[in-house]
Symmetry: D2
Amino acid sequence: MNIAMLGSGFIGRFYADSIQGYRSKDKIVSIYSRKEESAKKFAADYKVAFVATSMEEAIARPEVQVVCIALPNNLHEEAVMLCCKHKKAVITTKPLGRNAAEAERMLIAVEKAGIFNGYLEDLVYTPKFIKANDSVKKGALGRILWAKSRETHPGPHSDWFWDIEQAGGGCILDLGCHCVEITRSYIGKDIKPIEVMCWADTQVKPIDAEDHAIGLIKYENGAIAQFEVSWTFRGGMDLRDEVAGTDGTIWINNFLRTGFEMFTAGGKKGYVAEKAETEKGWLFPVGDEVTELGYNHMFADMFNSFDGKKNPMEGFYDGYIVNEIMDACYRSAKSKKWEPVDLKVWRGLEKAAPISGVREYDKDHLFVKEEILPDGRTKIILKEKKTGRIIQKEK
Amino acid sequence: MNIAMLGSGFIGRFYADSIQGYRSKDKIVSIYSRKEESAKKFAADYKVAFVATSMEEAIARPEVQVVCIALPNNLHEEAVMLCCKHKKAVITTKPLGRNAAEAERMLIAVEKAGIFNGYLEDLVYTPKFIKANDSVKKGALGRILWAKSRETHPGPHSDWFWDIEQAGGGCILDLGCHCVEITRSYIGKDIKPIEVMCWADTQVKPIDAEDHAIGLIKYENGAIAQFEVSWTFRGGMDLRDEVAGTDGTIWINNFLRTGFEMFTAGGKKGYVAEKAETEKGWLFPVGDEVTELGYNHMFADMFNSFDGKKNPMEGFYDGYIVNEIMDACYRSAKSKKWEPVDLKVWRGLEKAAPISGVREYDKDHLFVKEEILPDGRTKIILKEKKTGRIIQKEK
Amino acid sequence: MNIAMLGSGFIGRFYADSIQGYRSKDKIVSIYSRKEESAKKFAADYKVAFVATSMEEAIARPEVQVVCIALPNNLHEEAVMLCCKHKKAVITTKPLGRNAAEAERMLIAVEKAGIFNGYLEDLVYTPKFIKANDSVKKGALGRILWAKSRETHPGPHSDWFWDIEQAGGGCILDLGCHCVEITRSYIGKDIKPIEVMCWADTQVKPIDAEDHAIGLIKYENGAIAQFEVSWTFRGGMDLRDEVAGTDGTIWINNFLRTGFEMFTAGGKKGYVAEKAETEKGWLFPVGDEVTELGYNHMFADMFNSFDGKKNPMEGFYDGYIVNEIMDACYRSAKSKKWEPVDLKVWRGLEKAAPISGVREYDKDHLFVKEEILPDGRTKIILKEKKTGRIIQKEK
Amino acid sequence: MNIAMLGSGFIGRFYADSIQGYRSKDKIVSIYSRKEESAKKFAADYKVAFVATSMEEAIARPEVQVVCIALPNNLHEEAVMLCCKHKKAVITTKPLGRNAAEAERMLIAVEKAGIFNGYLEDLVYTPKFIKANDSVKKGALGRILWAKSRETHPGPHSDWFWDIEQAGGGCILDLGCHCVEITRSYIGKDIKPIEVMCWADTQVKPIDAEDHAIGLIKYENGAIAQFEVSWTFRGGMDLRDEVAGTDGTIWINNFLRTGFEMFTAGGKKGYVAEKAETEKGWLFPVGDEVTELGYNHMFADMFNSFDGKKNPMEGFYDGYIVNEIMDACYRSAKSKKWEPVDLKVWRGLEKAAPISGVREYDKDHLFVKEEILPDGRTKIILKEKKTGRIIQKEK
């Protein structure tokens, strides 16, 4: 695959490490950056043949098959439109747009142009998520009741994230987009998100956007999603997801506790892990960030789908849904009420059956609970169907 | 100390194990249960001299110094009033009342009677919480921004919990009371809780009360508390607390991951731990539940305070505040809006200073963020005071 | 219980915190220290009535029921002999002697004097060990094949530990005594330890004794124990035990990973936990060290046994066995061969049956192994009884 | 890269998943298996053009650039000799030989033939090991004192492993080869292994080889390596490595605790993870086994080295060293003494400087220890250079 990379910053480099990593047959053939120096350094580091400070030039090259957008949020729409113009397949970093209106325009444009489109939501491509969601889909947890995703760290690495005009928002837009798609995937991408409740505040940082937010998303079948996002967290990059159903639960720690623990009294200078805060004492590095953060599986899905003329797991449509949910969150944070998710485009189930976990015990009773007591007896709690009374007995 | 125990069920027995455990000088001298057989068994097991099926008789005994209420929620008020009548010191299990009105009446009654009163909120007495909160109070985490407490399990062990009339509510009342007081303690018991937002639903169990709820509590200084409570969780008893401030974070796992891991292919029958669900495979027992759940430190504080004529760490006043917050949660779950906490009694700060974490970098700039990049460079992000512009530079 | 405490240092204070902790009815009534100032400070802190700089005076007081030895290793024998002379019950800190000869003399003396004797091996009284060993004894792990105990930290807190004359040895004697008794308890205190292999070296510290050692202890039934001890470890106090049998395993982390994790950027000065090395970054405090290290359960067993005229779980006999095993370790470290454990006193089984885990599959085959393969097939591996051939088939 | 795969079993398939995974440009072009059916199934699953039941035919194909040996241990030498004959680059699974004599013959043969040779020791290519060893080499732990590797599970998946003739040994040869190379890499591949002590027994399985072993390897500079290997472990596949130095420690859990925890009451049938033992209760899957077990980084190093005409990180020479160390272990298990490692080929340092951690405190004292006490005082322990006396003082 021949790729044009738009953007030579932190995320562009992470993408390049993945795309050209291991024994890859894929190649970045064109690099665009606003700053020539940065583009040239990128080209030298990743052996890229063509360097451009014009976005359109980088895209239009005949050898380019797929354009990968790794730009600040405010430049996504312009880049996507150029891909439509030149009929190039396009994959774009998260979030798709700064808001749902932008995302919707991009979705309509790529579909009208008939080009392959992928949404680079890496955190639903982590090896752990893929296996966990596979278990969920096979029913290992029963019916899903709740999914939660937490992404907090001490704040992003580039200036533009902190500027509400370029970024479009604060930590909800930067981190919440991951959480929304992770929890939506666990609950089921076919199930309609109905309404949201969100608290957001600027507790610490001298910025206009929120630096801390907590949100709830109610789905049509009664399942509930939860996110916790923050740029105020101290201690590294905290990426933890959980999902619970009628029959079980999954806990994932993607970054800070992965079975790799190091104590060093010495404190050798250098990079430990993304957003690590110390170089001394107990540290928790990640083996291979590019893999653990999902990049390898994500690009494999994107390029294999392109080769196979299929849709990737995550497309612009998904990015659009995520933007609509986040827009509703911003409205709720202001109105202090639950706010409906206003989906102009919806391709899932029109009417989802309610999750309902009530279990029959025998013909006269519903099952409530069974527990072994410290003295070894087993107590069972039931509801009488006729009277509605709760009773208990020993088993 | 001579104690009258009211209630001979699960919690009464746990309390007795703690009160008469180790090398204790304290003694249960009187036991009340509605069921004579249960009272007699309790008396035999714990060598209690006096057995009663009349609550008042159990309380009124002259040798009784402290009455310990371990009864269903709907019987707390009656028991407290009898203690007031007989001028006996009283300590009562959580929650104080089924609602704030009950709690307020109890608070007023004990204070009018001038009797010692203690609120048995064990989870702010766990060894981990005590040490963690001590670190928080000493400033190890800076200013507290967020505190969260999660208590979920597959549902309570006795029938009355599941009956909304006797219990007064579902998992919010049963489990949320812990979470509210844990997070309130981290944020500061002097800081006024202002308003709450709560989602509650009955997702699985055939009952009238909620079996799953998530809530947010906003404090006057801008700090936010969060609770997650459920009777639908599968996997054991999940008690996890977290707190984060401008300078750090604490993560506590009280029950399911405490450094004790066991795999057994055999599955010998018997009690593993409170609300454990399996007897085979990987199990996570707790060393000494009575200690780990805080009972030992709690009763030590209660009885030492009584001896020393001081107030214990947790009194009826605290129980009342918790009930008011939970009442607001129930209102919010219905109204789908943030609801004010309506405190008729408040003894903390009248006006708390807002937490504010903005840090000056130099005379022209505010500090936003510093990060080491994968290539070893250190980037620093600042806000220009004059222009409000976000800039970045290498250090 | 009225206790005379001999020694007012680190360990004496830990013991006092435990003995007089919670709601204890026990009381230290007499304190001995070589240094008057230290004895007086101890007496003031713990409200001890009688202060002595003569060991015998402290012991001989008529109100003293039990003498607790918390002295350097080289003073144990003298103190024990004085207890024999005055017919006082005696409990002594670990190790019992500096070597088996000392330990044997003490054992013979207390038995001849007919006095109650307890060996303060706290780490077989931790709440985790007690519950784990209870599971082992109930058969949850099947037949025990291997037990391992690791105790490493950056070195002891008092000068005398580092002096081979006073201490009698290095980290084997200081830490190995714990490991030996933990693993012996898991394997079965009735099973005879037969021979040992030990590596020991002085890798880091400027001392005459060993600062790092690894040992193996073979038991008569074929079970194997393993210890890892060191004063060179960096990162805090690492206390981890494991035990494995034919049906399962238990992993215990007593100190560094107990479900309590703290990140602090601030680094407030002060005590974090025993042998913690940093005050900044990720820290792992322990909720209540006195409980977690086993002191509370240990003293409860000691004093309850004394009251009930029973032997405690750990007596001088156990201390003697441990010293014999350690002596053999020191011999092996020099000879570079397995060395026999030379028990002059043995009260366990004279002939233990060999553990043997071979399981019959059907009348023609012995069971070797069953495994689910990545493609979902289940493969079973068997040994033909007649031919001895290993075969595999799908299930 | 065009690869001939010899062997179509469990390990051959794992290798193929890695070699042709993600977006790889590498291709298996020839597959050999003794069983035609198995070879054909492999060819179908991995789209391999050429199928052979003759080893030589599979190797000799002109399009083959590299031969990958994934055969039982007793067939390695034959396969290597054929590669020499046909001058094909060869990479072989672990262990290199059934013993050092086989390994030495293979080493001499490939060097004489002048062919590229790689040793597929995957566990020094896991993402965690690579990063950990990088930290070690940069000095984050100071001078390395001790390294330990544990690999235990309930036994291998194929019949031939259990047959001592085909396998050459038991769990030492199967699992110990990993542990030896992991610990040797941490200590330094330039440092000569001098002597070993090993305990080995057949505790559970009805086989001739050992099913449980523990070994120590002493290096010339005084560092010590430790391995624990077993086919009797219950609970899954336990892969844990540790390394400690004068300034720190690293703990790695490769498989059973990687931040992925699942509870399922349901127990859906199917593959959870390599050597998982249950399908119910708490399970600990691994995100992506092929990555976590090091296959991806291993083949990338092999093929990139071949392309770049460099030696890979692990070659036949390393495999030979490992075999020599294991041979010494088998001798020690019989002789019950430390046995020398008898290296006929050695390419590291001829004389390594002893590790020595003694630190000067001031001109008159050596540093022993510093510790914060529970009462907040800081105690420092020193050795007087002149007198050799250990002293302590407050800081």
